[in-house]
Symmetry: C2
């Protein structure tokens, strides 16, 4: 395999660099906990150089393409947000070159922004690259994608461009409720059986309920425990199911199948929730992100287009 | 004024005792921070005796009636929950006498419970007494009441009985989000102008949105700050307006006027939110709770019914 690109997925808490072939195959990888919050004094170039030194020594001309929070205000240099609709081509036109002394052929992929009808913005940074990779892997131009996590993104792609997306603070709200409200008090940390999770998902369905109803539904995680209708070991999963179920029901305005881009643990939760509700979905392969790196580098002309 | 009753409002963090006339007029009061969580080793009788000793010395036969979390599992003795529909008479039949050595004529008012069509319980403890007081003061048999706070209660009364109610974890969720999620990072503690609060309330309105949408709406408290569309000093109030607005919209299934039972600061927030949405409401007088104590003591035959 011939290396053509170094792809870097540089988030808040993790650093992952990949030596990539034109097919997206990973030839070598380097992972560490040097996410952007763990890099002192803006020493991003030193961290990157150290990680890719051996690869660059063997292949001096390899370009570097980076995605994730490295392009945020807290990162190396703020990369712009491309407005929706945003295709791989649109993103590739807005790559930003890092202000480096030696690694001068290193680029950051921009984020994507959208405004709703009232002018309220939403943003993503990093997810656009994973989606570009998922589309390339599926050889698709359309789809609904969810990228679960602290700030889950639901993304609609049409004609190879991101048209619409919404962020749900599901993961972060779950942690805050579990650790810092009365809901955590009745929970134990034994593993659940799955029953609590499914009950939570079912509970999220409701007629005539508006967004504020979530503030009421949450309280059931207390009362079901208080009245011994749910074992203590199931309450944490019940709360998780309630939040993920509510997210899923709101995010999908139709029964259209969707694709999950996530690690195995989160993917399993979303697959189960979709099954309980009766929705169809599939899991994207791991390493979507590197296929996005290759697709965007190719669109930007950083690597040659294959015949 | 002739004292006929000692009313005690004993919550998680506060203790309030009142020497009361038959009209509900407060002859004397004793307040402290000895809420049930601040009472060690179950020494509830000692705390109560100390507070009411002078009153009992002057009027040895005065009965004591107590409401609030003193009747919870963490309190003096667990008082039952009366199922809906629950009138003052129903509550008065379930008063529980405390297991005291000397204060043998002291009673705890029961809470109220309800189950929805799926068997999920909701509970109140203390609010039923405030509502009994508000009804007595208004000489009313019907109404919609909100009791805002950590766990806000929305309560529908018909024919003098609590028929329906729902708990919204609005206050506690607000604190958890502000203190323990990314939403707090852009906030400053300068007082807001009211603009952010009103914008939050307006943002809570939305068509076709289900409970999960709240997880998305919350993220606007971050992006509006990130894009400098909302000053840092307004973000905390924006989040408060968003949550209270969402609660209000969901809790009121019609434009029926409602009554707020709360301290002045919380009442002002709910009055403003109702105004922004275009709903009618009024504030109940302070000290609803003591009128509830008198009404329930009278219904229980603890004090004589006036001619």
């Amino acid at each position: 395999l011939t290396p053509v690109l170094i792809g870097v997925d540089w988030g808040t808490s993790a650093f992952r660099a990949y030596l990539l072939a034109a097919t997206g195959a990973i030839i070598a990888r380097h992972e560490s906990h040097r996410g952007i919050l763990a890099v002192a004094n803006g020493a991003f170039e030193a961290v990157l150089e150290e990680a890719v030194a051996a690869w660059r020594a063997a292949h001096p001309k390899l370009p570097v393409i980076m995605s994730g929070m490295i392009g945020s205000r807290q990162g190396w240099i703020e990369a712009p947000y491309v407005p929706c609709p945003a295709s791989a081509k649109d993103l590739s036109l807005k790559l930003i070159r890092v202000p480096a002394r030696r690694l001068t052929d290193a680029h950051i992929i921009p984020g994507v922004a959208i405004e709703d009808e009232r002018g309220v913005p939403d943003v993503m940074r990093g997810e656009e690259t994973q989606i570009a990779g998922a589309l390339a892997l599926q050889n698709a131009t359309d789809g609904v994608f969810v990228l679960p996590g602290s700030h889950a993104k639901w993304v609609t792609v049409n004609g190879s461009a991101i048209r619409l997306f919404r962020t749900y603070m599901t993961g972060e709200v779950f942690q805050a409720l579990k650790q810092h409200t009365i809901l955590g008090r009745l929970m134990t940390d034994e593993p659940g059986t799955g029953q609590g999770f499914a009950e939570g998902v079912r509970r999220a369905r409701g007629e005539d309920a508006t967004p504020g109803r979530l503030l009421n539904l949450l309280f059931s995680a207390r009362t079901l425990g208080l009245f011994s209708k749910l074992p203590a070991s199931e309450i944490s999963d019940y709360l998780s199911g309630l939040l993920i179920g509510a997210e899923l029901i709101d995010a999908l305005d139709s029964a259209r199948p969707f694709t999950i881009i996530a690690n195995p643990e989160l993917s399993a939760r979303y697959l189960t929730a979709a099954q309980v509700i009766g929705l169809k979905c599939q899991r994207a392969p791991e390493d979507c992100v590197v296929h996005g790196h290759v697709a965007l580098a190719r669109a930007a002309g950083l690597i040659e287009v294959e015949a």
